[in-house]
């Protein structure tokens, strides 16, 4: 069961020679081809991936691997620059754009010997919470095709069921989440501005880590909101996320918003005694629209900690209900600024309009951006107008401070980690999801995740249980600034307690001949 192993397990197998990097790479590429219907990948870098795998193999033969990540197939969200490989942000604006450089995080992965399989699908320019609004079409949640989901769904006509019943991945890093969830890679990079890594992680049943703002370099990540964006890490277990974090974190002179403190990669201890832990349950995260199923799971999780001896306290983050509004204003304002670089002159799409510079820019942008992007640019410009600047933009910045302060107060009161739901419900069917517009959906779906972006705090989604429909539900832990080790230690303990089931995908079994080990222990739900 090589493809379904964890990153650390397969790394050990590579070291022991039980599998070679090229064999592993070939298997992943074959599985990507077989799961094309998921639409998780925009570009598959087959040639370069095989070359990287060959180079890795040489190193293993010499007994000189670069580290745990040497030879490990990974995928990268298509809003990270990758030298020589098309980077589109799922937009017509960047179709055909071949990056001249690697984003720092991509370079770091390659320097550690990782094998870059390809670029994953997303909402256009990472704006959205469904991975449905990119020009290459929507990403399908692999769980739509799982035995667990099919067993629970009401059978319509057999052909109709497969085609129209599929559920979304969540977003905007849906392609990366689907890629990890369907075993085509062992880890993937996403980005997280309002929840874009944690949301699809929850819907696809994988671990999604949003690191503290300033810990991981944003150089080469095509920016959405400079004050909130972070690269996100998607893996199948918490230990794997710690491995990725270890190779990515640290000061980058090319991104002056990365902190200069020394970062030491860490291995996570196997926590057995949680009696010294204080878990905070923010009551405002019982948000309107939270499904009763998730509420029950959240409550059960709190009890789990309590029964294990941890201190579990209800806390208050009073400005929670304004955080989505605040985010909306700050996000659109920064977007208006960041999207100004796309004018057709130096890269990307360029209109044939020749009358004047301004009319060329206008036509290029009309042709290159979708409704969602244009909408956010226009809203952002509205909030930044002289007559609105104080009323909206500065006001939102003040509210941001109140939100950040809410967290400071709670952590100062002795709470180590907060426990909240990640999403309001399990993944919606695509046909249902698209009935509301992108802004409404984002406002609904980001509600539990984006306060962490506003405050710059680290947060992680841990897959918890399956819903009644047989789909993944995750819970979120939010930690103190730069205390990823503590956050991940708690998350790992929780992961061990809940024993989230492995997805049963027929197509994967066919590719992954070998003993398939069933998760035996009682599931959490």
């Amino acid at each position: 069961a090589m493809l379904r192993a964890s990153l650390r397990q397969v790394s050990a197998a590579l070291k022991e020679g039980r599998v070679t990097p090229t064999e592993l790479c070939q298997r992943c590429l074959a599985l990507i081809r077989s799961t094309k219907f998921l639409n998780a990948y925009i570009t598959i870098a087959e040639e370069t991936a095989l070359k990287q795998a060959e180079e890795s193999e040489e190193r293993y033969k010499k007994g000189q691997p670069l580290g745990i990540l040497d030879g490990i197939p990974i995928a990268v969200k298509d809003n990270f620059n990758t030298a020589g490989i098309e980077t589109t942000c799922a937009s017509n604006m960047l179709k055909g754009y071949i990056s001249p450089y690697n984003a720092t995080v991509v370079q770091k992965l390659l320097d550690h010997g990782a094998v870059l399989l390809g670029k994953t699908n997303l909402d256009e320019f990472a704006m959205g919470s469904g991975s449905t609004d990119g020009v290459f079409g929507p990403v399908r949640n692999p769980w739509s095709y799982s035995k667990q989901y099919k067993e629970k769904s009401v059978p319509k006509s057999h052909s109709e069921d497969e085609e129209s019943g599929w559920v979304i991945t969540g977003g905007s890093s849906g392609g990366s989440a689907a890629a990890v969830s369907s075993f085509t890679c062992f880890a993937a990079l996403g980005s997280d501005t309002g929840g874009s890594t944690r949301n699809p992680a929850a819907h696809c049943g994988v671990v999604g880590l949003k690191p503290t703002y300033g810990l991981i370099s944003r150089h080469g990540l095509i920016p959405l909101v400079n004050s909130m964006d972070v690269p996100g890490i998607l893996t199948r277990c918490v230990d794997d996320a710690a491995v990725l974090l270890g190779s990515l974190a640290g000061h980058d002179p090319k991104d002056s918003t990365t902190i200069q403190d020394d970062f030491k990669p860490f291995e996570l201890p196997n926590l057995t005694d949680v009696s010294k832990l204080s878990i905070g349950i923010p009551k405002e995260y019982h948000a309107p629209g939270l499904s009763s199923e998730i509420l029950a799971l959240w409550s059960k999780a709190a009890d789990l900690f309590k029964n294990a001896g941890a201190k579990v306290v209800e806390v208050s983050l009073p400005h929670t209900r304004y955080s989505i509004v605040c985010y909306h204003v700050l996000c659109t304002a920064e977007v208006a600024s960041n999207m100004a670089r796309f004018d057709g002159l130096e890269y990307g799409h360029r209109s044939d309009m020749k009358d004047s510079t301004e009319s060329m820019y206008a036509a290029t942008r009309r042709e290159g951006f979708n409704d969602v992007v244009r909408g956010r640019i226009l809203s952002g410009n509205y909030f930044l107008l002289k007559q609105n600047y104080e009323k909206y933009f500065v006001k939102a910045q003040k509210v941001r401070r109140l939100i950040a302060n809410d967290f400071v107060k709670v952590f100062r009161s002795g709470v180590d980690v907060l426990l909240t739901p990640t999403t309001l419900s399990d993944a919606a069917p695509y046909t249902e999801f698209i009935q509301e517009d992108n802004r409404t959906r984002s406002a609904q779906d980001d509600i539990l995740t984006q306060a962490a972006n506003m405050a710059g705090l680290p947060a992680i989604n841990v897959p918890t249980a399956l819903s009644e429909r047989g789909l993944p539900v995750g819970l979120q832990f939010i930690g103190r600034s730069f205390q990823e080790k503590q956050l991940l230690t708690v998350a790992k303990w929780f992961e061990k307690q809940v024993q989230f089931p492995v997805i049963q995908l027929e197509v994967v079994k066919r590719h992954d001949n070998g003993v398939f080990q069933h998760q035996k222990s009682a599931s959490f739900s």
């Binding site: 703002y213 509004v325 659109t332 009358d355 060329m360 640019i377 410009n381």
Partner: protein, 108 residues
């Protein structure tokens, strides 16, 4: 409070993107309505927050040239170029006024 056509036109000029149709304009209206909820919050005496890293100093490196000479790479992705120049259509020509422009707002 509906946004006036003058402001909508002004926004199209500033943003250099178009509203395209009534849905686009509605989208803005809804966005403003949504944002108005901010005014329910009391922010007296609260300083605006630019960055969560405000308590730290940004890294400033030495003013030494460490990379460059990548003209060829930088020109690769441009559609219109001549020698080492990006070529733009003539500048200093303002966008046509509302009445003369092809825009959805014309009908408003």
């Amino acid at each position: 409070q509906k946004v006036s056509v003058e402001v909508l036109d002004h926004l199209e000029h500033l943003a250099l993107v178009d509203f395209r149709d009534s849905e686009g304009v509605e989208r803005l209206q809804k966005a403003i309505q949504f944002a108005d909820q901010l005014h329910d919050v009391n922010t007296d005496g609260v300083e605006p927050m630019d960055s969560v890293l405000e308590d730290r100093c940004l890294y400033l490196r030495e003013d030494d040239v460490t990379e460059g000479n990548c003209t060829k790479e930088l020109l690769e992705n441009a559609r219109e170029k001549v020698e080492e120049y990006f070529v733009a259509p003539p500048g200093n020509i303002p966008l046509p006024k509302l009445e003369e422009r092809e825009t959805f707002l014309q009908g408003s």
